[in-house]
């Protein structure tokens, strides 16, 4: 199995789903993003967003949770095909993050990742920068968030 096959470029993986509750939206917002439309139903109704909705950081962090929890299954697929799983290093960052629609209390969000490309990292032999398209989709099939993530990877 080649490195490129292990990266599964171009293949979209569904990472899992999560239903955002009013309580957790407010708890996250009180700690990290206490803007009125994330902590008060009444203020949210009067805002451009139209109703109580999750902080964009909450949605992004929940994407990360599902990405991490989905790794063992991805590693198992590589082992089942006779390969050694790739090793993930630190993430370098993300680009072009768009919060396209609010995530409202009660919405069920499905998280997806599509590895798109990789390139060698100058000065770091054996390490590559992997770029992935990351998405969150609501129960009406609407993309509510997307971004490009860059993370360091190497052969296992």
């Amino acid at each position: 199995m080649t490195f490129e096959e292990k990266l599964a470029l171009g293949r979209t993986v569904e990472l899992g789903s999560h239903t955002f509750t009013t309580e957790e939206i407010k708890a996250f917002a009180h700690k990290y993003d206490p803007q009125p439309f994330h902590v008060s139903e009444e203020d949210a109704r009067k805002s451009v967003l139209g109703g109580l909705c999750a902080s964009g950081w909450h949605t992004a962090a929940m994407w990360m949770r599902h990405h991490v929890l989905a790794r063992p299954a991805a590693e198992e697929r590589i082992r089942a095909a006779g390969g050694t799983p790739i090793v993930f290093g630190p993430a370098r960052g993300l680009d072009s993050l768009e919060w396209l629609s609010p995530v409202y209390a009660g919405d069920t969000i499905t998280f997806r990742q599509t590895p798109l490309s990789y390139k060698a990292i100058p000065g770091r032999p054996g390490w590559y920068m992997l770029q992935s398209r990351c998405e969150a989709i609501n129960q009406d099939e609407k993309v509510v968030m997307r971004f490009m993530a860059s993370v360091m990877v190497r052969e296992g």
Binding site: D33, Q35, V48, W57, L69, P90, E98
Partner: protein
């Protein structure tokens, strides 16, 4: 139409303006708490695992760093503003680990502003954020665009 009483409206941002948004010390317990919920990897959950990793200590999850920057923005100016939320980030780059016990400081630069074409009561402001640690090292850079009501713009 009454003028909005908030300190920061679309009209109050000038390109090139720099604002110091304050500091916070990163607590080990909060690093672990955030990681359990959102990024359950060993270097964010366990001090020993963090110390033996390339990050060199118990380190905050990347999105935890982003969330802490958001909190500094909220306390620094956003809660006293007419913010209507952010359509996105141009980029978020993690340059160095944020470790338990670090004190992080956020500085913001107004990069650009433009009026909304579809909503005449709103404008969009592009904000550059530089997060540094107690050693003066840049640990994270971010650029975001936030919607603000105008001084005389009602919801």
């Amino acid at each position: 139409m009454t003028a909005n009483p908030k300190r920061w409206t679309y009209d109050d941002f000038e390109v090139g303006m720099v604002l110091d948004l304050g500091s916070m010390t990163v607590d080990a317990g909060e690093i672990v708490e955030f990681a359990k919920q959102f990024d359950p990897q060993p270097m964010h959950l366990d001090r020993k695992a963090g110390e033996t990793s390339v990050l060199g200590g118990l380190s905050a999850a990347g999105f935890h760093v982003g969330a802490m920057m958001m909190r500094l923005m909220c306390d620094g100016f956003l809660l006293d503003s007419t913010s209507q939320g952010a359509p996105g980030l141009d980029f978020l780059h993690w340059r160095k680990p944020v470790l338990a016990g670090d004190t992080i400081t956020l500085r913001m630069t107004v990069k650009a502003k433009r009026e909304s074409k579809s909503r005449p009561n709103l404008g969009l402001v592009t904000l550059g954020q530089q997060l540094s640690n107690q050693h003066g090292e840049q640990v994270c850079d971010m650029q975001s665009t936030v919607m603000f009501l105008k001084r005389n713009g009602s919801q």
